[in-house]
């Protein structure tokens, strides 16, 4: 009896720590890679992004729906190339489920590129949709939206595009969108990632 109990307790201990070594390794990888990464002043990054958005506002005559799309598109084409850079830096294996993906995104991807670690929360019951809460957003430092933009503009929408593009390149077809943004007067900046389906690795036409 006592032996069985001890076995049980060791089992529960093992299962309790089953997830943490993984997430710890994501964290360690992220921090380790960040240390070795060449860096640049975040304010230059912030100002450059600001210059881009404000130029878009002029170009598109303050049509914020179009600006959101354009920012997303820019992000998408960054994302599809950025994933290579990310995998080369971190050498991460393929994630087994969305939970792992979320950890990799928050603790590695955001850490390695932007030196932030968004919180992962709001899992759907089916475990295929989650939220990233971005407390410190280097894109939107020093930013205040004019009133007309507050209603419609997702200022950091480029991030959605980046995630969409990058995830698609690792066979995860996802919808990525903002549900709230501090710049719009919301309590927090929340980015939602929803898995549609896992794409099959397809051989390009004419290859076989």
């Amino acid at each position: 009896m006592s032996r069985q109990q001890s076995i049980n307790s060791s089992q529960t201990a093992a299962s309790a720590t089953a997830q943490s070594p993984l997430s710890r390794s994501f964290k360690a990888t992220g921090e380790d890679v960040w240390k070795r990464t060449e860096k640049i002043n975040a304010e230059l990054f912030t100002l450059t992004y600001g210059a881009i958005v404000s130029q878009l506002c002029t170009d598109y005559g303050r049509d914020f729906t179009k600006i959101n799309e354009q920012l997303f598109q820019m992000g998408y084409s960054i994302g599809v190339r950025l994933i290579e850079d990310f995998l080369a830096r971190t050498a991460l294996p393929r994630c087994q489920d969305m939970q792992e993906t979320s950890e990799a995104l928050s603790k590695c991807a955001f850490k390695v590129f932007l030196n932030i670690t968004p919180r992962v929360t709001n899992w759907s019951s089916t475990k295929d949709t989650f939220s990233l809460i971005i407390d410190e957003n280097p894109l939107s430092d020093f930013v205040e939206l004019p009133m007309d933009a507050m209603e419609q503009l997702w200022y950091s929408n480029v991030l959605c595009g980046v995630l969409k593009g990058a995830l698609e390149m690792v066979q995860l077809d996802c919808d990525v969108f903002f549900v709230s943004d501090i710049l719009r007067g919301d309590q927090q900046t929340e980015l939602r990632v929803k898995l549609n389906k896992v794409l099959k690795d397809e051989i390009p036409i004419g290859e076989d």
Binding site: T48, S77, F113, D141, I182
Partner: protein, 319 residues
């Protein structure tokens, strides 16, 4: 509560039709009649400190963004000149902001330090910052407005007698305005303030050489963490100066010499915006001049307008 306020202001149809965004004449948040009695909007901008936090992002994140900016410009521009002008315009909007920001940060008095900032590696200025100064907030917009009030006609016309006393007044008036804003936004009381550490504003650079030194040292250190590799005066024309970067970091991944040099016009824009806003009208161009091991060595050629030289001759050349 803040949501309630936003709802009120944005649902006002008459306002919506009138507004095209930021109202420069009114300020960052125009207050509507029915807004007057409410407590002011919580603005992140006002609660943010301009203190150096020395945050960093990875160079790849920056270059990815930069590349995307360039490729979208590429699509819409038909000629190289158009491309370079537009890219330079992006930079200009940044340079004009940095002029104010860096002037404030360079004004921090060394005495008020409890930890040395890593913001500058330049030996020309020592910056430092305080760890905590509760109760006051840095207010960039207010500062800038104040600033314009103080010398609205630009540096060129500010008198030489603008010595310690007047700049002290200037700094203290900024402090006052800041206190007002901090009272209004008192709930963000734990933000360090930049102005609380400034006892005397740094004098603006009025001479060509001084401001170029500031660019060579402070601006470059701010942008790239090191001073620029050289600052040279042209021996042929006396309105030309050159700032040299042996390895421009932003454009290092762009291949093809001609393409790369066009992309350096972003930095040209930053320099131009900085100088123009300081009252030094000029033209800035980028040129490739490889030397030895530095294949990407870039020269930013600054050509000042004649008026700048004339002004300098009148004011500073002793007869």
């Amino acid at each position: 509560m803040s949501q309630d306020i936003i709802y009120t202001s944005t649902s006002d149809e008459s306002f919506k039709n009138r507004s095209t965004g930021y109202e420069y004449t009114v300020g960052p948040k125009p207050s509507l009649p029915d807004e007057c009695n409410r407590s002011p909007l919580t603005s992140k901008l006002y609660s943010e400190s301009l203190n150096t936090k020395r945050h960093e992002v990875s160079l790849s994140a920056m270059t990815f963004l930069f590349q995307e900016m360039i490729s979208s410009l590429h699509k819409e521009c038909k000629t190289v000149t158009e491309f370079e002008t537009k890219l330079s315009n992006y930079g200009e909007s940044i340079g004009s902001r940095l002029l104010e920001l860096l002037n404030f940060r360079s004004s921090i008095s060394p005495g008020s330090s409890s930890r040395t900032s890593t913001f500058l590696t330049s030996s020309t200025s020592v910056l430092s910052s305080q760890t905590s100064a509760p109760g006051t907030n840095a207010n960039y917009t207010n500062n800038t407005n104040n600033n314009n009030g103080g010398g609205s006609t630009g540096n060129g016309t500010r008198s030489r007698s603008n010595t310690g006393a007047s700049s002290k007044d200037y700094a203290s008036s900024i402090k006052t305005s800041n206190r007002d804003s901090s009272d209004r936004h008192h709930h963000h009381h734990q933000v360090e303030s930049l102005t609380s550490q400034i006892s005397k504003m740094r004098r603006r650079d009025l001479k060509i050489l001084d401001i170029l030194q500031f660019i060579h040292g402070t601006l470059w250190s701010y942008l790239f963490n090191h001073v620029s590799d050289d600052l040279v005066k042209s021996s042929e024309r006396n309105n030309e100066y050159m700032i040299i970067d042996n390895q421009p970091p932003l454009t290092q991944f762009i291949s093809g010499p001609n393409n790369r040099i066009s992309c350096d016009y972003f930095i040209c824009g930053i320099i131009k915006g900085f100088l123009t806003n300081a009252g030094f009208r000029c033209k800035v161009t980028a040129h490739e001049m490889p030397q030895g091991q530095f294949e990407n060595r870039t020269v930013y050629l600054i050509q000042f307008d004649n008026q700048v030289l004339e002004r300098e001759a009148i004011r500073f050349d002793q007869p």
